[in-house]
C-alpha cells in the first residue's frame, strides 16, 4: 500500500511538470496557404466561389424575386417587412435584407479575387498553365456576373442617369488584412470593367466540361458571350448585343431552345448558365428560397410571390407559358392565387437557379436586331419560335405598324418567357418604362430614375466605410 502511494505520487508529480502543447488545428477549416497548396485545393477554392453564389441573397432567389415584385410580375404578399418596404417603394438604408444581399455578393467576389490572386502561384506543378488560366478566367467570370447584378440593383441604369451615375466599388484584390475604404465607381466604369474582363477571358474558358452539371453550371465561352450580350443590350449597344448573342446561338450543339416546357429542372441545351442546386446543397434559408417564395403555404412554401393580376392578363388564355407553368391555389381566406411551377421543389429545394437561358439569348438578339433594323425577318423568326413553343400563332411583319410596336411585342414575349427569373425590373427600366402599371398605387414612385427604384447602400457600410456615398433620397 505504501509503495502504491509512492508510485501514484511520483506519477502525478511527473504529469505536473510535463510540458503543455497549446497548438490545435481547426478541423473543418484550412489555413489560407493550404487553400492553394495543390491542384485539388485550388479547384476546391474555385468551386467555393460558385457555391457562395448559391446563397439566398445572391442567386438563391432573393435579388431575382425582388426584381419581379418591384416590377409588375409578382404581387408580393409576404410578411418580411424588409421585402415589403422594397415592394412599396419605402426602402430604408438600414434594411437588413439589402445589407445581407450586399454582404453575400462581396463575399463571393472576394473569394473569386483570392482565386485570381493565388492560383498562378500555387506550388503544385501538376497544375498546368492552361488549367491555371482557366480557373482564373472562371473566377473572373463569376465576379463580373456578381458585379453586374449589384450595379443593376444599386445604381441607376445608364439610359436614365448616364455613365457617371454612382455604381458600386470595383474590388479586384484579395483581402490583404488592410481595410480599404473603397469608394463607389461609376456605372460606366463598372460596365467597362466587366466588358473588358469578359472579352479578355473568353479564350481561356472551355466550351463544355466533362459533366452536364459543370457545362451548365460553370463558366464557359457561351456563358461569357451570353453575359456580354446582356450587358450590351442593357447599354443599348445593339450591334454588339446581337453579335454576342449570335456567338452563343451558333454553338448549336450546346445551346438550343427546348421543344416544350418540360426542360425545367434538367441540365439541357436550354441553359447557358445556371447555378446548380441539390437536396443537400442549396441556398435556401428559413427566410426564403426559390421553392418557398413560389409555392403556396398549403403546398409547404411561404406563398409570398403569386402572379400579379397584370401578368395573368398579359397572357392569352391558351398561352402554354401560363397554362403549363402555373398552379392555382385557394388560400385559407378563400382567395384564389396563381403560382408559377418553375420551382416546384418546396421540400428539398433542389431546383437550379436559372441565370442565363438560351431563350434569353434568342430574345436579346431579336430585340437588338429590331432596334437596328426595325421589323425584320430574323427577329420575327426568333420570336415565332418562342410563340410556337407556347402554342400560339406566329406573327408576321404586317402585324406591326411601327418599329416601336415591334420592340414592344418582343419585350412582351420576353416578359412572358422569363417571368419569375429576375429580369423584369431591368427590362422595364432600361427601356425607360415605369415598373408598375398606371393603375398601381406606386406608379409614380416606380418611374425610371425615381430614388427607390434602386436599393440604398447599406447603412452599415456607410457607417464604417467613409469612402462610400449614399444614393439620392436615402440620406
Amino acid at each position: 500500500m505504501k509503495n502504491l502511494k509512492t508510485i501514484l505520487f511520483i506519477g502525478l508529480l511527473g504529469s505536473l511538470f510535463s510540458c503543455e502543447d497549446l497548438d490545435i488545428d481547426p478541423q473543418q477549416s484550412l489555413s489560407t496557404e493550404l487553400a492553394f497548396a495543390d491542384k485539388q485545393s485550388v479547384e476546391g477554392s474555385l468551386l467555393g466561389v460558385y457555391s457562395l453564389t448559391q446563397e439566398w441573397e445572391v442567386f438563391g432567389s432573393l435579388p431575382q424575386v425582388i426584381a419581379d415584385f418591384q416590377a409588375d410580375n409578382v404581387r408580393f404578399i409576404g410578411s418580411f417587412p424588409t421585402l415589403q418596404e422594397i415592394g412599396i417603394y419605402t426602402t430604408q438604408a438600414d434594411n437588413v435584407t439589402v445589407r445581407d444581399l450586399w454582404r453575400a455578393h462581396y463575399r463571393a467576389i472576394l473569394a473569386a479575387n483570392a482565386v485570381v490572386a493565388f492560383t498562378p502561384d500555387s506550388p503544385d506543378e501538376a497544375l498546368t498553365t492552361e488549367e491555371r488560366n482557366q480557373y482564373v478566367a472562371e473566377a473572373k467570370f463569376m465576379r463580373s456576373l456578381l458585379m453586374f447584378q449589384l450595379v443593376n440593383l444599386f445604381g441607376q441604369p445608364v439610359n436614365v442617369a448616364g455613365e457617371d451615375a454612382l455604381g458600386i466599388p470595383i474590388v479586384t484584390d484579395a483581402f490583404s488584412g488592410e481595410i480599404v475604404d473603397f469608394p463607389r465607381n461609376t456605372v460606366g466604369e463598372v460596365h467597362e470593367f466587366i466588358i473588358n474582363e469578359l472579352n479578355a477571358i473568353v479564350a481561356d474558358l472551355p466550351d463544355t466540361y466533362a459533366t452536364s452539371a459543370f457545362t451548365r453550371g460553370r463558366a464557359t465561352k457561351g456563358a461569357a458571350n451570353a453575359l456580354l450580350s446582356r450587358i450590351h443590350l442593357y447599354r443599348g449597344e445593339w450591334q454588339l448585343a446581337a453579335d454576342k448573342a449570335k456567338a452563343v446561338l451558333d454553338a448549336e450543339a450546346i445551346y438550343g431552345l427546348a421543344g416544350n416546357y418540360s426542360f425545367w429542372g434538367e441540365n439541357n441545351s436550354e441553359y447557358v448558365f445556371s447555378i446548380q442546386n441539390s437536396e443537400i446543397d442549396n441556398g435556401r434559408t428559413g427566410s426564403g428560397g426559390w421553392g418557398s417564395y413560389y409555392n403556396s403555404a398549403e403546398d409547404g412554401g411561404r406563398g409570398d410571390a403569386p402572379f400579379s393580376n397584370a401578368l395573368i392578363e398579359a397572357y392569352a388564355t391558351n398561352d402554354m407559358r401560363i397554362t403549363a407553368l402555373s398552379k392555382e391555389n385557394v388560400n385559407g381566406e378563400g382567395v384564389s392565387l396563381l403560382y408559377t411551377t418553375k420551382f416546384p421543389d418546396v421540400v428539398t429545394h433542389s431546383d437550379n437557379s436559372p441565370i442565363i437561358r438560351t431563350t434569353e439569348i434568342v430574345l436579346n438578339r431579336a430585340e437588338a436586331l429590331a432596334q437596328l433594323n426595325g421589323v425584320n425577318d430574323e427577329s420575327l423568326a426568333l420570336i415565332n419560335d418562342l410563340r410556337d413553343r407556347a402554342g400560339l400563332e406566329g406573327l408576321s411583319a404586317g402585324n406591326f405598324a411601327s418599329k416601336e410596336a415591334f420592340i414592344a411585342q418582343i419585350l412582351e414575349e420576353r416578359r412572358k418567357e422569363l417571368a419569375f427569373e429576375g429580369h423584369r425590373r431591368m427590362d422595364l427600366l432600361r427601356n425607360n418604362l415605369p415598373l408598375r402599371p398606371e393603375s398601381d398605387t406606386y406608379f409614380d414612385a416606380s418611374k425610371p430614375g425615381e430614388d427607390r427604384t434602386i436599393l440604398p447602400i447599406p447603412q452599415r457600410e456607410l457607417d464604417i466605410n467613409t469612402g462610400l456615398v449614399q444614393n439620392p433620397g436615402f440620406e
Binding site: K5, L8, L22, Q27, L30, S79, G217, A297, V347, I464
Partner: protein, 722 residues
C-alpha cells in the same frame, strides 16, 4: 388585435366592408398559454466514520411551463466522499450526474415558438378545417399541430466528477492534485409531421462536450510565533475541451409514424464536426498575516490559451491586496457600538480569452457552403489576425466591512474601478473585404461602481423577529478608447453591435443609437421623428440617429424582509433595476401598418389619426408617413426600470418538541411560495423587463424579440429531515 378589431382595421384600411372578411377565427394567444406546473423532490443523506465521510443527494424537478408544448424534467444525483489513509494522506471524490429532458418547441426568436407565433398569427387563421383536421399554415406554423404531432426533444446528460489526493510532505507543506472531468452530451431530436413540413422532416444532432481539468498545488502554511502567519502556494493547472457534434437531417417520410431520420427518402444534412481549446496556467500566491490584524496577499500567474496567435499566447497577471482589522486596535476595543471593522484594498490584473477557438487564424472552410455541383469546395471564412491576444482588466477595490450594535447590523461597502485594455470585440469591417467582422483587441473600457450589502436585524423581541437584507450595486460603464474604429458623423469612434446599438467612445459599450420618434402631429396626422437638431420632421432617416441611452442598468439589487413569529416565517424578496433601456424588436412587427394581411397587429393601430381623433397613436391612414411608421426608432424602446416582487413565502417550522415525539423526524417545515406576482414598471402589459435575447453576446444587450414573461407561480412544499 381580436378578429373583430382586425377586420375593422382591415376595412378602414382597404375600404372593403367588414362583412367581406372572414367572420370566424381563432384566439391563438389564448390557446398557447396554459396553466403550468412545477414539482420538485429532493432527498439527501450524509454520514461517515472517523476516516470516511459521505454525502449523497438526489433531485427530481419537473416543470410544465405556461407556454404550450414546453416541458422540462431534470434528475440530479450527487455523491461526495472523503477518506483519510493516514494522518498525512487524504483522498476525496465528488461525482455528479444529471439528466435533463426538455420537450420544447423553440423559444424567443423563432416562428416555431408558441409565444412568438401566437401573436403573429392572423386572427382568422384556424388550426382545424371543417372536418376537424389540422390545417397547414406555412411560415408561421400551426402551433397546435406542432405541439400535438411534432417531436421536439432536447436531452442533456452531464457527468461531473473530480478526485483529489492530498499529502502532507512536511507538517506545513501539502501537495494536492485534483483531476476532474465535465462531460456533457446533448441530443436534439426533431421530427416535424407532414402538416408542418411537407412530406415530413427529421433531424437529430448529438453534441459531445468533453472537458478535463487537472490542478496541482504545493501549499505551505505556518505560524512563526503566535503573531506571524505565512502562507505560500505554487501551482499548475491544465484544462482542455474537446467538442464534437454530429447532425443528420432528412425529409420525405412515408408516414408521420416513422420517427427516425433513417426512414427519410432524402438526407439533407449529414455532418460531423469537431473543435477544441486548451488552457495552461502557472500560478503562485503568498499570504502574510500579523496578529489577524494586518493581512497581505500577493499573487502572480501566467496563462497560455490555444485561442491566440503564437506570439501572444501567454499572458502574465498579478494582484496585491492588504487588509487592516481596525477593531483589533486598542483605540476601538470595548466599543459599545462597533463589533468588527475591517478595511481592505486590492489591485490586480486579470486576463480574458473569451473569443472563438481559432479566432487568430485566416481560414478556408469546407462543407456545403463550399461544395458545388456534387464536388467538394472551400471558401474563405475568417481573416487572419495574428496579433490577437489577451484582454486585460486592471481592477482596484476598496472595501469596508463593519458589524455594529451587538451583531445586529452588518455592512459591507465596496468601491471599485476596473479598467479593461485590449478589449476583445468582434469588430465589423466593410463587406468589401469579403468578411463581416473579426475579433480584435479593440479598445479600453472602464467599469466602476459601488456595491453595498446591509443585513439588519431590525426587531428582536419575545419570539418576534424582523430582518432586512439589502443588496444594491451602482455601476457606470464607459468606453474610453476605440483606436482605429469607425467614426460617426459627429466624429465619435464606435463599434457596431446591432442595428440598434453600438459601443461608442465616451459612452456605454451598449449604447442605443436610434432615430428619435416624437409622435403624431395633431394638425397634420403625420408621424414625426426628430432630426439631429431636435426639430420634428416627417422624413424618417437613419442619418438622424442619436445617442439615447445604455442597455446596462445603473442600479440593480434586491431587498428581503423576513418576519418570524413562533415558527412562522414570512419573507418577501423584491428585486429592482434602474437606468437601462430595452429595445423591443417584436414591436417593430406589431406596430407596422405594412404588416396588414401578413401578421396580427397591435390594437393601438386602430387608434389612428382622423379629423375627430387628433391625439392618436398611429398616423392618418392616407398619410405619407404611414408606410414608415414601423421603422426602427425609439417608439420601440422602453426604459427597463422596474421593481418586482420576486418571491413571497410563508413557512411554518414544526416545533422541535412536536418532532421529538415522532422519534423519526429531525426537522420538518411546510411552506407556500408566490413568485413574480407583482411587477411595478412603466411597461405596457405583455412587455417583459427581464429579457434573455442574445444572452452571452456582450456587444448586444437589452434587445428582446417576444421574450416571454417570467412565470407567475404558486408553490406548496414540505421539507423533512431524518
Amino acid at each position: 388585435m381580436s378578429l373583430a378589431q382586425y377586420n375593422q382595421y382591415r376595412s378602414d384600411r382597404t375600404g372593403d366592408p367588414v362583412s367581406s372578411f372572414p367572420q370566424t377565427g381563432f384566439d391563438w394567444p389564448e390557446a398557447v398559454i396554459e396553466q403550468g406546473k412545477i414539482s420538485n423532490l429532493n432527498v439527501s443523506a450524509s454520514g461517515g466514520s472517523d476516516n470516511t465521510t459521505y454525502f449523497i443527494s438526489g433531485t427530481y424537478f419537473m416543470q410544465d411551463t405556461y407556454a404550450l408544448g414546453n416541458e422540462l424534467d431534470r434528475f440530479n444525483g450527487r455523491l461526495n466522499m472523503t477518506h483519510k489513509f493516514s494522518e498525512k494522506a487524504r483522498f476525496g471524490a465528488n461525482v455528479g450526474l444529471a439528466k435533463t429532458f426538455n420537450d420544447r418547441i423553440n423559444s424567443d426568436n423563432s416562428t416555431f415558438a408558441p409565444l412568438t407565433s401566437a401573436f403573429l398569427h392572423l386572427p382568422y387563421n384556424k388550426p382545424f378545417d371543417e372536418n376537424g383536421n389540422y390545417t397547414r399554415l406555412g411560415f408561421v406554423p400551426n402551433l397546435l399541430a406542432l405541439a400535438d404531432l411534432a417531436q421536439t426533444e432536447y436531452v442533456t446528460r452531464r457527468t461531473t466528477a473530480n478526485t483529489y489526493f492530498e499529502f502532507d510532505i512536511l507538517p506545513d507543506l501539502t501537495f494536492k492534485t485534483d483531476w476532474g472531468i465535465d462531460q456533457i452530451q446533448t441530443e436534439e431530436t426533431m421530427r416535424y409531421p407532414d402538416i408542418i413540413e411537407p412530406t415530413g422532416q427529421g433531424y437529430k444532432r448529438i453534441i459531445q462536450d468533453y472537458k478535463w481539468l487537472s490542478t496541482n498545488t504545493l501549499n505551505y502554511q505556518k505560524y512563526f510565533g503566535n503573531d506571524h502567519f505565512f502562507g505560500a502556494l505554487l501551482g499548475y493547472s491544465y484544462e482542455q475541451s474537446d467538442f464534437a457534434s454530429m447532425t443528420v437531417e432528412g425529409s420525405g417520410f412515408v408516414s408521420d409514424k416513422l420517427p427516425n431520420v433513417a426512414s427519410a427518402a432524402t438526407p439533407t444534412i449529414t455532418s460531423a464536426t469537431g473543435t477544441g481549446w486548451k488552457l495552461a496556467s502557472y500560478f503562485s500566491r503568498l499570504n502574510y498575516r500579523y496578529k489577524d490584524k494586518f493581512l497581505f496577499e500577493g499573487s502572480a500567474r501566467r496563462d497560455g490559451s490555444s485561442r491566440f496567435g503564437m506570439d501572444n499566447r501567454y499572458g502574465n497577471f498579478w494582484a496585491l491586496s492588504g487588509g487592516w482589522v481596525l477593531s483589533e486596535e486598542k483605540f476601538l476595543q470595548n466599543n459599545s457600538i462597533l463589533d468588527f471593522l475591517k478595511i481592505n484594498t486590492s489591485y490586480g490584473i486579470a486576463g480574458n480569452d473569451r473569443v472563438d477557438n481559432f479566432a487568430s487564424l485566416g481560414l478556408y472552410q469546407a462543407g456545403s457552403l463550399g461544395d458545388y455541383a456534387g464536388s467538394p469546395g472551400i471558401y474563405p471564412s475568417q481573416p487572419a489576425n495574428p496579433t490577437l491576444g489577451w484582454e486585460e482588466s486592471a481592477q482596484f477595490d476598496f472595501t469596508v466591512y463593519a458589524t455594529l450594535f451587538n451583531n445586529k447590523l452588518d455592512i459591507e461597502a465596496s468601491l471599485w474601478n476596473k479598467r479593461t485594455t485590449g478589449l476583445l470585440l468582434d469588430v465589423p469591417i466593410p463587406y468589401t473585404t469579403g468578411y463581416t467582422s473579426y475579433a480584435q483587441n479593440a479598445g479600453v473600457m472602464r467599469n466602476r461602481g459601488i456595491d453595498l450589502m446591509i443585513n439588519s436585524l431590525n426587531v428582536q423581541s419575545s419570539g418576534f423577529e424582523w430582518r432586512t437584507i439589502l443588496n444594491v450595486g451602482f455601476l457606470k460603464n464607459e468606453v474610453l478608447e476605440l483606436p482605429g474604429a469607425s467614426e460617426d458623423s459627429k466624429g465619435r469612434l464606435f463599434v457596431q453591435g446591432s442595428s440598434s446599438q453600438r459601443a461608442i467612445e465616451g459612452y456605454s459599450v451598449n449604447t442605443f443609437y436610434l432615430v428619435r420618434y416624437s409622435g403624431i402631429n395633431p394638425e397634420t396626422g403625420e408621424a414625426e421623428w426628430l432630426n439631429s437638431d431636435g426639430e420634428p420632421t416627417n422624413t424618417y432617416s437613419t442619418n438622424n440617429r442619436e445617442i439615447i441611452g445604455s442597455a446596462i442598468p445603473r442600479i440593480s439589487g434586491g431587498l428581503t424582509n423576513t418576519f418570524s413569529y413562533k415558527g412562522f416565517d414570512l419573507s418577501a424578496l423584491f428585486t429592482f433595476t434602474q437606468g437601462n433601456y430595452i429595445m423591443f424588436d417584436d414591436l417593430r412587427f406589431l406596430y407596422s401598418p405594412n404588416n396588414l394581411n401578413s401578421f396580427n397587429l397591435d390594437p393601438q393601430l386602430l387608434d389612428y389619426w382622423t379629423e375627430e381623433n387628433t391625439n392618436s397613436f398611429a398616423p392618418r391612414l392616407d398619410g405619407t408617413t404611414q408606410a414608415n411608421f414601423g421603422q426602427r426608432s425609439t417608439i420601440h424602446l422602453r426604459k427597463g426600470d422596474h421593481i418586482r416582487l420576486r418571491n413571497l413565502s410563508l413557512t411554518y417550522n414544526i416545533p422541535a418538541n412536536v418532532l421529538e415525539r415522532t422519534n423519526v423526524l429531525r426537522s420538518a417545515r411546510v411552506y407556500g411560495m408566490l413568485q413574480n406576482m407583482l411587477t411595478f414598471s412603466n411597461l405596457e402589459d405583455g412587455l417583459e423587463p427581464e429579457i434573455s435575447g442574445n444572452g452571452s453576446d456582450n456587444q448586444i444587450q437589452g434587445e428582446s424579440f417576444f421574450t416571454p414573461a417570467q412565470a407567475k407561480s404558486f408553490t406548496l412544499g414540505v421539507s423533512l429531515g431524518f
